[in-house]
């Protein structure tokens, strides 16, 4: 009887540990609305992200040049990382000004304890010296990275996710990102 009890308890403990390990490795943060989408690098991917969220039936406001003050009332900040010189030109700001803006809004989001999600959907075109400053800045403070695989061929984002223990999803195409977004905001 005693032996049977020990066996049952041990088996239950093993089962629970395994289950919790499985749950931990798969667990991604859940996000709440209202959502603010902003850019880190001023690529037009922020417009695509807006469409992506629409397709995922998640209401979100896209403000490529969002500042700390725009976080009022927001529960989730989505940062779409990737540099575009045309985008900077369209926004009428310099690279340094954009770096400062992104640093400041991420800092403000951290202070307000908002959840931050990073999207990298521009693939190879949004990687490289110009983009990676923005990519790193956004990735390191996020609780979830959603990345189109082509942008992670050198495991740039996977390495950050591994080091900082951030949940990451790699998708083949932008359209494949709709499901993970919907899931992240599912009640």
């Amino acid at each position: 009887m005693k032996r049977a009890l020990i066996l049952i308890v041990t088996a239950t403990l093993i089962l629970l540990t395994t289950a919790s390990t499985v749950m931990l490795s798969q667990s991604k943060p859940k996000y709440d609305q209202p959502v603010l989408i902003t850019s880190a690098g001023q690529s037009a991917d922020v417009t695509i992200a807006g469409t992506l969220f629409k397709k995922a039936n998640v209401q979100a406001k896209a403000l490529p040049l969002a500042k700390a003050a725009d976080l009022e009332g927001i529960k989730t900040l989505v940062v779409v990382a990737g540099f575009s010189s045309k985008g900077l030109g369209a926004a009428g700001i310099s690279r340094e000004q954009e770096l400062t803006r992104v640093q400041s809004i991420l800092q403000a989001a951290k202070e307000k304890k908002l959840k931050i999600m990073m999207l990298h959907i521009g693939g190879k075109a949004r990687r490289g010296n110009q983009s990676d400053d923005f990519n790193k800045m956004a990735a390191e403070v996020s609780s979830y990275l959603l990345v189109v695989k082509q942008g992670d061929e050198d495991q740039f984002f996977s390495k950050i996710a591994g080091e900082k223990k951030i949940a990451i999803d790699l998708v083949d195409k932008i359209v494949d990102a709709v499901q993970p977004v919907a899931k992240a905001f599912a009640k």
Partner: protein
């Protein structure tokens, strides 16, 4: 006669022979390409219809109108803004020769910078033409320069002052049609062409317009759609459609403070939704090896392949290259997706174009299948 005089006369004779032979070659580029209007073309007019001063000059261009006779949107497609970007104007040629319009109107100008087709850029070693085997014969098309023929506008200024913004650009940009919009009636040759295009957009009440381009593989803006801010939602929606078909495009916003470009000035100065599309063209690149007709058509370059393998440039390039058929296929599919997205956003403005070859079809069967 003294010895050096005899040598001088002999050399002069050689100069005459060389000038004659070279001159003949150069003047051959003034012969227009054969573009055979297909069943969808209901009328052909000249660009000078919209601005008379172009008539009789090398800057006048053919405008092909495909009018369904049914109420709907009017779309404009420009090829050959840069005559050294063949996928742009070959896409327009395919539209002219192959498609029909069931609703609305399609206006196509395959070689809008027609002056640029009469020469090649110096120091590039470009071929003067390239050939595509069509269903019936070997079709030859000119491979031109980036801008208007310098003979028509010599000399280039040191600094080009863009009208009317006053923006300062490199002097040779004075011949670049895509820096000359909106143009002016008393401006340079290229500005007059830009002016004529703006008049066409205004008179024909164009709803959506496309400017088709190419760029070197190492340029960040390739396989891209550049949109004016009013068209960005439709562009994003089109991108989704294209992505789901494994056709990746980058989306770029038109910078409001960079003047003279089609996607900026068309959008600012008229109700039209303008889009500029880029594909990747190895012959324009700085890394390229042998520069010849084969590189234009097949797009296979060993140097770009090696660069992609080393990872020294952020390019996607393999030994299949970037053949012209694939680049034209991308433009056609991109155009279709944008038209579809535009119609979703503006359901009252329908335009139905039939016969646009699918991307996979044109890649598999070749460009010639869709030319007369």
């Amino acid at each position: 006669m003294e010895r050096h005089h005899i040598i001088a006369f002999s050399l002069l004779a050689i100069v005459v022979v060389v000038c004659t032979l070279a001159g003949r070659e150069f003047l051959r580029m003034h012969e227009p390409d054969e573009i055979i209007p297909g069943p969808g073309v209901t009328s052909t007019v000249s660009l000078s219809t919209y601005f008379g001063a172009l008539a009789g000059t090398s800057s006048d261009a053919n405008v092909y109108v495909l009018d369904s006779g049914r109420q709907g949107a009017t779309a404009l497609v420009l090829g050959g803004t840069h005559p050294n970007e063949p996928a742009g104007f070959m896409t327009a040629v395919v539209l002219t020769e192959h498609v029909t319009v069931q609703t609305g109107r399609l206006i196509v100008i395959p070689q809008v910078c027609s002056s640029g087709f009469t020469c090649t850029d110096p120091l590039e070693g470009y071929p003067q033409s390239f050939s595509v085997q069509s269903r019936t014969k070997l079709r030859s098309f000119r491979f031109g320069a980036r801008g208007s023929n310098p003979i028509t506008e010599w000399p280039d200024p040191l600094v080009f002052l863009q009208y009317p913004s006053g923006q300062q650009l490199s002097g040779n940009e004075v011949r670049n049609l895509n820096r000359s919009y909106p143009g002016r009636p008393d401006g340079t040759v290229t500005e007059r062409v830009a002016y004529a295009v703006m008049r066409l957009i205004e008179r024909e009440k164009v709803d959506i317009a496309f400017d088709l381009h190419e760029a070197a593989p190492e340029i960040p803006i390739i396989n891209a759609i550049v949109t004016h801010e009013k068209g960005k939602d439709a562009a994003a929606s089109a991108l989704f459609t294209l992505e789901s078909e494994n056709l990746q495009y980058a989306l770029e916003m038109s910078p409001p403070n960079f003047h003279g470009l089609s996607h900026r000035e068309w959008g600012d100065r008229s109700p039209v939704f303008p889009y500029l599309m880029e594909t990747s063209n190895p012959i324009q690149g700085r890394l390229r090896g042998v520069t010849n007709e084969e590189l234009v058509v097949k797009g296979i370059d060993q140097k770009y392949y090696e660069a992609a393998q080393i990872g020294s440039m952020r390019i996607t390039y393999d030994l299949a290259g970037e053949p012209l058929a694939r680049r034209v296929g991308r433009h056609l599919r991109g155009l279709q997706a944008l038209l579809g997205a535009y119609m979703e956003a503006m359901p009252e403005k329908g335009i139905v174009v039939e016969g646009i070859p699918a991307y996979e079809e044109i890649v598999a069967r070749g460009l010639g299948e869709y030319l007369h």
